[in-house]
């Protein structure tokens, strides 16, 4: 009798229902990704590689943190089709990148070229690192100078105390 009542136990029931929920979720998610699969035929492995590389380098303009390879947005699908068709026409990788930047600007590239507009993006981190290093260096040097000055002052103070003690002893004379 007792073991049966375990099924009615709240935490177990909760566990089972969350398992079911997780499975349902996974099914929904996998359904989504299957919907995004497209079948493309390539003339040779190089072309397939070029397609895969290009779609991973181009940004989806709608969901801006995804590449067009990752995104299920309609525009991403259209741009994948565009890349595929251009490769079929024998266009080079550079031609395709040029085609995309002519229409969408450098923003469409996940690996933007170095120019006046993107300069800060590329140099910025190095500049900030240098500023940080210089700041740390200056701070450390000042700290060191300060602590040196401190110990000198302390020593001077100690010496003066000792000197006074000796003087007072001399003035009093040796009792022995």
């Amino acid at each position: 009798m007792k073991p049966l009542s375990i099924i009615g136990n709240g935490s177990v029931r909760c566990f089972i229902s969350s398992c079911i929920l997780a499975v349902v979720f996974l099914l929904i998610l996998s359904g989504k990704t299957f919907a995004g699969v497209e079948f493309r035929e390539f003339a040779d492995p190089e072309q397939q590689e070029a397609y895969e590389n290009l779609t991973k380098e181009l940004r989806c303009l709608v969901c801006q943190n995804q590449t067009i390879a990752d995104s299920n947005a309609e525009l991403a699908a259209d741009l994948r089709r565009q890349v595929y068709e251009m490769l079929q026409q024998g266009k080079s990788k550079q031609d395709i990148v040029q085609f995309m930047t002519d229409r969408y600007g450098d923003f469409v590239l996940y690996n933007p070229p170095f120019n006046l507009k993107t300069g800060l993006l590329w140099i910025g981190p190095v500049v900030f690192l240098l500023i940080g290093l210089i700041a740390v260096f200056l701070f450390a040097r000042r700290k060191k100078a300060e602590s040196n000055r401190h110990s000198h002052a302390e020593q001077g103070h100690e010496n003066a105390e000792k000197l006074a003690k000796v003087r007072s002893l001399l003035e009093k004379g040796d009792p022995s």
Binding site: L61, Q64, L75, D78, T101, D102, R103, Y104, G105
Partner: protein, 176 residues
């Protein structure tokens, strides 16, 4: 003294950067097509698919190119403003019916009014790619020479019409 002023300066600099960040619109991508000739197309008209329109037909005229679709919810909020702009007859308004079903598009115009002098169909989104379209609605302003002079992403508001579109159209109409 510097000890007290430095944090204040840092605070002000940080505030300025954060304030600028708040006012940025990272989802709006600057179009590389500004001040370039309009991308060529020859597309069937929505109302009479046997006829085609190409940008050369509009040479010598100032025109707006508005990308819309019946599935686009923000186009619905923009639509009355376009209707109003059309009544002022400041410029020709050409619609690009983007990735839409012709029946749905015609139904939309019948229900909500038709601000377009002519609409053309882009069912597979290829004209959209040539114009760098990534979010519907988008509105371009084209001068008499067929040069794109301005691009607006997202729904046009009455303020945009008064402050940007009408003055720009007036300026372009005065040009040769």
């Amino acid at each position: 003294m510097l000890k007290y002023i430095l944090p204040l300066i840092l605070f002000i600099v940080l505030s300025v950067f954060l304030a600028l960040g708040l006012n940025l619109h990272p989802s709006e991508i600057p179009s590389p097509l500004i001040n370039k000739a309009v991308p060529a197309f020859s597309a069937p008209k929505l109302q009479s698919p046997e006829e085609k329109l190409s940008p050369t037909d509009l040479k010598g005229k100032v025109w707006l190119f508005n990308v819309w679709a019946s599935w686009c919810t923000s186009c619905r909020s923009e639509h009355p403003i376009l209707n109003q702009l059309a009544r002022q007859q400041a410029a020709i308004i050409v619609g690009l019916n983007y990735k839409d079903e012709p029946e749905a598009a015609l139904g939309w115009l019948a229900n909500l009014g038709n601000p377009y002098d002519v609409s053309i169909m882009d069912q597979d989104g290829r004209i959209g790619i040539d114009w760098g379209v990534y979010g519907v609605p988008e509105t371009f302003v084209i001068d008499k020479q067929g040069i794109i002079r301005y691009k607006h992403t997202g729904p046009v508001t009455p303020e945009d019409v008064q402050q940007i579109f009408l003055p720009l159209i007036a300026k372009l109409q005065a040009e040769n």
